[in-house]
């Protein structure tokens, strides 16, 4: 065959056709622009969001490492350090506890010594920021801002003197209180919410604590590959010859958790990609459908299928060349300029320079994806163009017309609307699918954003807004500072929902093997075994009042009972509890699973500080809970604490000693209420407090970023859903120009046409909303579950979802009508004659 030089003429026709269809090209370019923009911005913001949330998680942990070896020996450290899969190791040793600053009693503030690696490579990355330097001299100290605030130092200064009372954790020190004036050499902010400080090597040396001391020393291990299995840990254990009490703290679910997260992310990304693909595909499909008669004409005058296909591809490339760079530029602008600016406006102290990681790969991926999507989307329409016969093309109407008679006698506006929605089944499926995916992505993203909301995380982890603790609770000269007067003062504050009171007293529980025998055995077999089982039990039988064996007699009010009961699945009989017929036992260690046969048994006890110190009482134990359900914080000896009702405690004790109160506000995180509540205890030195709001305030910077990024992603995806629909509707209405003119010519008023379009819009919105919920909610749950780092309960952010659905519904009703008004204003005859050209 002879080669025919026709490339030029085909290009020329393509150019002429392209130039003639400005409105349609605009829609195509817009679709490509939007898809490119969406992919780029979602990737850029998504990566940044992920980084910020991960960073916050590390900050909440306070240190960045993979696994931990307790009480490491030097030889073990060397061995681990030299292992292939280990990146680096750092040593941290808890060596002292501060009890008091000046006259102010503190929550136990733990002092650690960290080696250089642990400080520089494992601690600094987990800090939001720090001032000063790590302690070098013996009297230097670095504290968390959280601790400094608790000390009453909101604005610390380097070099300030801090006179404190502390005790060392050296095994033989017997917690003897010592006084020392430290010099503040630095402070830091993390989100761990724990009272902690760092000291120098010299101070650590003087305390006499060793890194191998039980529960004090730890080797923090950072692995080269943070995805490890149980097998890896066992291999490590086998190599380092571990002592009996030593253990490696590792999360063996790392790989499965990572896989879950990856699957969640892949599903999300896939949905976004499919959404982008359908968007481009649909616009191109509509555009070619509209042109098919024109292509038919070209075929009749001798253009071949190959030439026609080439024309379609050529036009697609021109659209891509215009749309992709625009989309990338817009994404870059939003990611690098708009969002950082927004962050700075919201939080002026914020250094917003590198918030959004607008990496080149993000843009390359987005650009390539949009180009290939555009290319693949062309295949079908190009095939359509190539395959149809000239006559078929000339007769083409964009509908899947029935082949058989259809005995139907409808014909009103409503039935027309319904028919129109599914006139072209393929297109209807594409519109509904892409709309459904867009709404589903929004649902999923919204659930993730909701899941990572710091307020929600804190609400799930704190049962109160503010807790006041009496630090003298365990002292010999304990003082009743949380008086009934003060409690009622707090209760009367506007904005306070309730105050839960927890009282406690020492309780002597004589040795009762039939009740706790199994429990003690388990406790003494555990890593945290308090000593020699036989010796201790012998001593216990002889001296049950020894502080080592006594425990706490805790009482809770009605609210407190509700919370306790809820934590164990509401299995307690409220009346029996109130009447003092049953109590709840609290296991000494939180990881002790099982109830050791305790429930149902009756325990005998006496109360040295009660009305009748010599009297022995008995009560049935209804449940054995772990320490997480314990409303009290001060611990007794190894015997399980007893939780009883306030009424019963009062009966046995007379006046109760209030250990702590939990205050709950009407509106969580209310600053106004918090200020008033705090004022009740004013400068009271022996009262420490723990505030959810203060913890939240510490997380503010990260929270601002998380929120801005998260909401931006949500907003952009919502925009996609809406714009996607808009574009499809615009193309759809223009495609039906001739039909509208026909309808008008036989008597359909503009009002009726608009009504029909509105009905179609509502139809699409309702169907896609229903499918979105059916599809989106299970996916949301799966993604939520995969990414649930804080074990919070699943909930759907209905507010924002309903707003999106409301906006969608309104737009679905308004947009087609608006497009109709804007495009169908030529005379009927002109529109009839123009047929399906715009």
């Amino acid at each position: 065959m002879l080669k025919v030089k026709n490339k030029k003429v085909v290009s020329e026709i393509a150019r002429t056709t392209y130039r003639a269809n400005k409105k349609r090209n605009f829609l195509m370019v817009f679709a490509i622009f939007l898809t490119t923009f969406l992919i780029a911005i979602v990737l850029a913001l998504g990566v940044s969001y992920w980084n910020t949330v991960s960073e916050r998680q590390i900050r909440m942990q306070g240190m960045d490492y993979d696994i931990e070896l307790s009480e490491p020996r030097d030889d073990q450290i060397e061995k681990i350090r030299s292992m292939d899969n280990v990146e680096y190791v750092g040593v941290a040793v808890k060596c002292a506890m501060i009890e008091q600053y000046q006259d102010k009693s503190l929550d136990k503030t733990r002092l650690y010594w960290l080696d250089e690696t642990c400080w520089e490579r494992q601690t600094i990355p987990a800090l939001e920021g720090y001032e000063g330097k790590y302690p070098q001299d013996e009297n230097e100290i670095m504290l968390s801002k959280y601790t400094l605030k608790a000390m009453g130092i909101p604005k610390p200064e380097i070099g300030m003197k801090l006179p404190v009372t502390y005790f060392t954790l050296e095994e033989s020190s017997d917690e003897e209180l010592l006084k020392k004036e430290f010099t503040l050499c630095g402070w830091y902010t993390d989100y761990s919410g724990s009272h902690r400080g760092y000291v120098s090597k010299d101070f650590f040396g003087k305390t006499g604590v060793k890194q191998t001391d039980f529960t004090q020393g730890a080797l923090k291990i950072t692995l080269k590959n943070p995805l490890y299995s149980e097998k890896d840990i066992t291999a490590m254990q086998n190599e380092i010859n571990m002592d009996q009490n030593q253990y490696i703290d590792a999360d063996t679910d790392t790989i499965s958790n990572f896989c879950k997260i990856v699957i969640g992310l892949v599903v999300m990304l896939l949905m976004i990609f499919v959404s982008g693909y359908l968007f481009i595909y649909n616009t191109l499909y509509i555009s070619v459908s509209k042109d098919i008669r024109y292509y038919g004409q070209l075929k009749t005058v001798g253009m071949t299928s190959v030439q026609l296909k080439r024309m379609v591809y050529q036009q697609a490339v021109w659209n891509a060349v215009a749309g992709i760079p625009l989309g990338l530029a817009a994404a870059f602008m939003i990611a690098k300029i708009v969002i950082p600016q927004l962050l700075q406006i919201i939080n002026p102290v914020f250094s917003a320079s590198d918030v959004v990681s607008a990496k080149i790969w993000v843009f390359l991926t987005a650009g390539c994806f949009a180009f290939f999507t555009n290319w693949i989307s062309c295949q079908k329409p190009a095939k359509m163009v190539g395959e149809c016969s000239p006559i078929e093309a000339l007769r083409y109407t964009a509908c899947t017309c029935r082949k058989n008679n259809y005995k139907r006698e409808g014909g009103g506006v409503y039935s027309m609307a319904l028919q129109n929605m599914f006139r072209d089944k393929k297109q209807a499926v594409v519109i509904l699918t892409s709309f459904t995916i867009a709404i589903s992505i929004f649902l999923v993203v919204n659930v993730i954003i909701h899941e990572n909301d710091a307020k929600r995380i804190l609400n799930e982890t704190y049962t109160y807004d503010m807790q006041f603790k009496n630090e003298t609770t365990l002292d010999d000269d304990k003082k009743q500072i949380i008086t009934e007067d003060r409690i009622s003062q707090i209760e009367q504050i506007n904005g306070v929902k309730n105050v839960r009171k927890v009282t406690s007293a020492e309780v002597v529980v004589p040795y009762q093997e039939e009740v706790y025998g199994e429990y003690y055995k388990e406790l003494y077999q555990s890593r945290y075994s308090p000593g020699n089982y036989e010796e201790d039990m012998e001593l216990y039988q002889k001296e049950p009042e020894n502080a080592y064996f006594t425990s706490r007699f805790i009482s809770v009010d009605e609210e407190g009972f509700g919370l306790l009961n809820e934590s164990i699945g509401n299995t307690l009989d409220k009346k029996a509890f109130e009447d003092g017929k049953i109590a709840v036992a609290v296991k000494f260690l939180s990881f002790m699973e099982g109830d050791y046969g305790i429930p149902g048994k009756t325990i005998r006890f006496s109360l040295p500080d009660g009305k009748e110190p010599a009297e022995e009482y008995s009560i049935q134990i209804a449940a054995a809970v772990d320490n997480r359900s314990n409303p009290a914080v001060f611990a007794g000896g190894i015997t399980p604490d007893l939780i009883v009702s306030e009424k019963y405690a009062k009966k046995l004790m007379g006046e109760l000693f209030t250990e702590l109160i939990d205050v709950q506000y009407e509106d969580a995180f209310s600053k106004g209420t918090e200020e008033k509540v705090k004022a009740v205890f004013g400068d009271e030195q022996q009262i420490s407090h723990e505030s959810k709001l203060e913890r939240y305030a510490d997380m503010k910077n990260s929270e601002t970023t998380v929120k801005v990024l998260g909401n931006s992603i949500g907003f952009i995806i919502a925009m996609l859903a809406v714009l996607n629909y808009l574009n499809m509707m615009a193309a759809g209405v223009q495609n039906r120009s001739k039909e509208f003119a026909t309808l008008e010519s036989i008597g359909m008023t503009t009002k009726q046409a608009k009504k029909m379009l509105r009905m179609e819009g509502i139809g699409y919105a309702v169907i896609s909303t229903i499918i979105s919920f059916i599809v989106g909610l299970p996916i949301s749950y799966a993604v939520f579950d995969a990414m649930n780092l804080y074990r919070i309960s699943f909930s759907v952010p209905w507010g924002s979802n309903l707003i999106l659905l409301g906006v969608t519904l309104v737009l679905c009703m308004v947009v087609p009508v608006f497009i109709y008004q804007k495009t169908q204003n030529a005379s009927i005859i002109k529109r009839l004659q123009n047929g399906d050209t715009i």
Partner: protein, 231 residues
């Protein structure tokens, strides 16, 4: 009595620097129940005139009065409703709605008027036009002649005062053309309707009671027959 009149009707198009006078001062008078054919060569303005008569296009100047009402002064929706009730259109290319079956296409204008179709009447038209067997067929399943008969049935369904037919036989063979025209005439007489038909085919035009010839946007014969009697 004249059911349709035009007064100095003009339609001019600006095409660059040239002004095209599609209609140039048309005065037309059509009596009630009359079957009128408008003939002329291609580009003579006959289609434009028909569109003006039916309110499908807007005149540059002049008046179109249908059943005593000046339609050129009507608002868009008012005109649509007026057209729905008073005028039936038959287009050369049928303009049937592809998604609706024959019956639905026919009754659509009645339903758009919020009325229930007069079943007897609709059945009568369907029978008369020989569409009984095709009542539930989709337009795509019909031949050209059948489609044109459906278009005619649709135009008749609302019992309009006037039927405007734009080359109704333009896409049909001569036998089918005769059939459709015969039916149009019969139904027109039976339901007392005025028919205005445009065609370029003289033979077809002969079936009308009166013929108007249009050239360069002007009537050159037959247009003012009833002008004086009206005055």
């Amino acid at each position: 009595m004249n059911i349709l009149t035009t007064e100095n009707l003009k339609k001019h198009y600006d095409m660059g620097e040239i002004q095209v006078k599609a209609l140039d001062g048309i005065n037309l008078f059509v009596r009630e129940g009359e079957f009128l054919a408008i003939v002329g060569t291609s580009g003579s303005g006959k289609s434009t005139l028909l569109h003006m008569l039916g309110g499908l296009d807007i005149p540059t100047s002049g008046r179109v009065v249908v059943d005593g009402k000046d339609i050129s002064k009507m608002a868009k929706d008012e005109l649509t409703i007026f057209r729905r009730r008073k005028i039936g259109f038959v287009f050369q290319n049928y303009n049937l709605l592809p998604l609706m079956n024959v019956y639905e296409n026919i009754v659509l204008p009645i339903k758009l008027d919020g009325l229930k179709p007069d079943q007897d009447y609709v059945e009568q038209i369907i029978t008369l036009l020989g569409l009984k067997e095709k009542k539930y067929a989709m337009p795509g399943q019909l031949s050209g002649g059948q489609q044109q008969r459906v278009a005619l049935a649709r135009a008749l369904a609302t019992k309009p005062a006037i039927i405007l037919a734009d080359e109704p036989t333009g896409n049909l063979d001569s036998r089918t053309s005769q059939d459709v025209l015969g039916l149009m005439k019969t139904t027109g007489q039976r339901f007392g309707q005025t028919i205005v038909m445009i065609t370029h085919n003289d033979e077809i035009a002969q079936m009308a009671e009166r013929i108007i010839r249009l050239e360069d946007g002007k009537i050159c014969g037959g247009g003012d027959r009833y002008a004086e009697s009206e005055e």
